[in-house]
């Protein structure tokens, strides 16, 4: 704790780096996972392959994934963001797919029956009804990503992982803690915030 208390501005800077990586990764996962999840819910044939690919990617160890990406994107934030987004993708895509697919048939029929276009049906009925599940997926993805974003430091993307790796290298437990505790706090705060959002969209 000594390091945290005596280096507030370093903690703040690392926190911002950490958040940038995690937020960027989840954002990319959302941008890719939302349309893919919707497509998986709409096109039956796509569901299994899409979820299988996402599931397999999920199983690749993150360090190995970084190793693959470094030749393409170089060391640094970009690789970290893209690499980590792979892990959120599965969760977000699956929740979007389940959310969209679980809208009750009579409600869809009513929407179609009163003359909604496909787009209106999606925007006014399917998406809002799937939203609680989508936000829940987002929350799980965000919390998970904040945790594994510590690894980003290993490839030069900064974040609280920097302290952890430095602590490991110098056998400095205080430094390891100084990286770990803020990471956990960040994850918890994010969890609470998104829980709140979840509750708002549910009511």
């Amino acid at each position: 704790m000594h390091y945290v208390l005596s280096n507030p501005e370093a903690i703040l800077r690392l926190g911002l780096e950490h958040l940038t990586v995690a937020f960027g990764a989840v954002l990319i996962a959302l941008l890719v996972g939302l349309p893919l999840g919707v497509a998986a819910a709409k096109l039956r044939w796509l569901e299994l392959p899409a979820l299988t690919v996402a599931g397999l990617l999920y199983l690749v160890p993150s360090l190995a994934l970084f190793a693959f990406l470094i030749p393409l994107l170089g060391l640094g934030v970009r690789t970290a963001i893209v690499g980590l987004s792979i892990y959120s993708l599965l969760v977000i895509m699956r929740n979007v797919a389940i959310g969209v697919a679980s809208v009750p048939a009579p409600i869809l029929e009513a929407g179609r029956g009163i003359g909604m276009t496909r787009r209106q049906l999606f925007g006014l009925v399917e998406l809002p009804l799937a939203l609680p599940l989508i936000v829940a997926g987002l929350r799980i993805a965000a919390v998970m990503t904040i945790g594994i974003a510590s690894l980003a430091a290993y490839i030069g993307a900064g974040g609280f992982g920097t302290l952890i790796f430095r602590g490991i290298a110098t056998a400095d437990n205080d430094l390891i803690l100084a990286g770990t505790l803020p990471t956990a706090a960040l994850a918890l705060a994010c969890d609470q915030l998104l829980r709140l959002l979840e509750r708002t969209v549910r009511s």
Binding site: P106, E109, A110, G113, I114, L124
Partner: protein, 320 residues
């Protein structure tokens, strides 16, 4: 009378099985048309083909004289009100937004939508002050069904389709909803096509009844025609044996007739409406007027076709 709807040999097949074989009937403008028939005979499928929620595999449907297949499906549906059996209210929208959804999707201004929604809620007996801002989950089944009706009316459609809208509500509320629907239809003169299992409901509401059997129309006629000129034995049996009409066993037919001197009574003076129906089904009648009495030439009662329809309409279907 102009025709609001005409179905010509409409059919729907799913692979090898046939849901509707031959739906042929027409509905005049402002008419209340009930579709009845045993479960699985194709009533719902027929209804959904009218607003193209289901596309027919054969035949032609004319809406106001125009082939529905030639009209953009979305535009067609916006001209046709639709109440489905499962109600299908949007759970994430307020009652007001549910009702005005049909207007908002056509891009009408918010204020107009709101005002129209409130008018419609008023019309179906849900004071907007109390109900407009609620979610459907905060309403009883009967109230939800009223919102469904309000939604179907909101865009002022030419035709309204209803699929067993009151089947899930208990008999007392059902009667109330039927009375309100009858009043609304009288006031607005909308063309209504109404699918139901419940024969008393059909007799209470409909100007014309279309009887389906195994995916085809066996008869389309006024309630009187169905009773006194059934097209096939199936129609008369369906009327006489319908579970919903068993309650007529306890209703005296003469209560709906007028006292008269009866030359040749068809049935005893104390005959129930069910007995009258069964006598009609058995073909034991000569004239359209049914005579009830104890002895030839004595005092009795005469029952006109309209009286019988009134009597059947008054029956309360047993619950469930």
């Amino acid at each position: 009378m102009t025709e609001a709807l005409r179905l010509e040999q409409v059919a729907k097949r799913y692979g090898a099985s046939t849901a509707v074989r031959d739906a042929t009937f027409s509905v005049a403008e402002g008419e209340f048309c009930a579709i009845v028939g045993p479960s699985g005979c194709g009533k719902t499928t027929t209804l959904k083909m009218i607003n193209r929620v289901i596309e027919p595999t054969a035949g032609r449907i004319l809406v106001e004289g125009v082939d529905a297949a030639a009209i953009d499906a979305v535009q067609l549906r916006r001209r046709i009100g639709y109440v489905i059996q499962q109600i299908g209210l949007f759970p994430h929208m307020t009652v007001e937004d549910n009702v005005s959804a049909v207007l908002r999707i056509t891009g009408r201004p918010r204020a107009e939508c709101r005002q129209r929604a409130h008018e419609m809620l008023e019309r179906v007996g849900l004071p907007p002050g109390e109900y407009a801002r609620r979610r459907p989950a905060a309403l009883s089944g009967g109230q939800q069904q009223r919102v469904g009706v309000a939604r179907a009316l909101a865009a002022d459609p030419e035709v309204i389709l209803m699929d067993e809208p009151f089947a899930a509500v208990d008999p007392l509320i059902r009667k109330q909803l039927q009375d309100e629907l009858a009043r609304i239809q009288r006031e607005t003169r909308k063309t209504v096509v109404f699918v139901t299992h419940d024969l008393p409901e059909a007799f209470r509401l409909a100007d014309r009844i279309v009887v389906f059997k195994d995916g085809a129309v066996v008869q389309a006629g006024t309630p009187e025609e169905l009773l006194f000129a059934p097209a096939t034995p199936f129609v008369s049996d369906y009327l006489a044996e319908s579970r919903e009409l068993l309650g007529l066993h306890f209703v005296r037919a003469r209560d709906f007739g007028r006292p008269a001197t009866v030359e040749r009574p068809d049935l005893p003076a104390e005959a129930s409406l069910l007995e009258v129906l069964r006598a009609l089904a058995a073909g034991r009648r000569e004239a359209r007027t049914i005579a009830l009495g104890a002895a030839p030439g004595g005092n009795g009662w005469l029952l006109e076709p309209a009286d019988l329809v009134r009597g059947i309409a008054a029956a309360v279907a047993p619950p469930g």
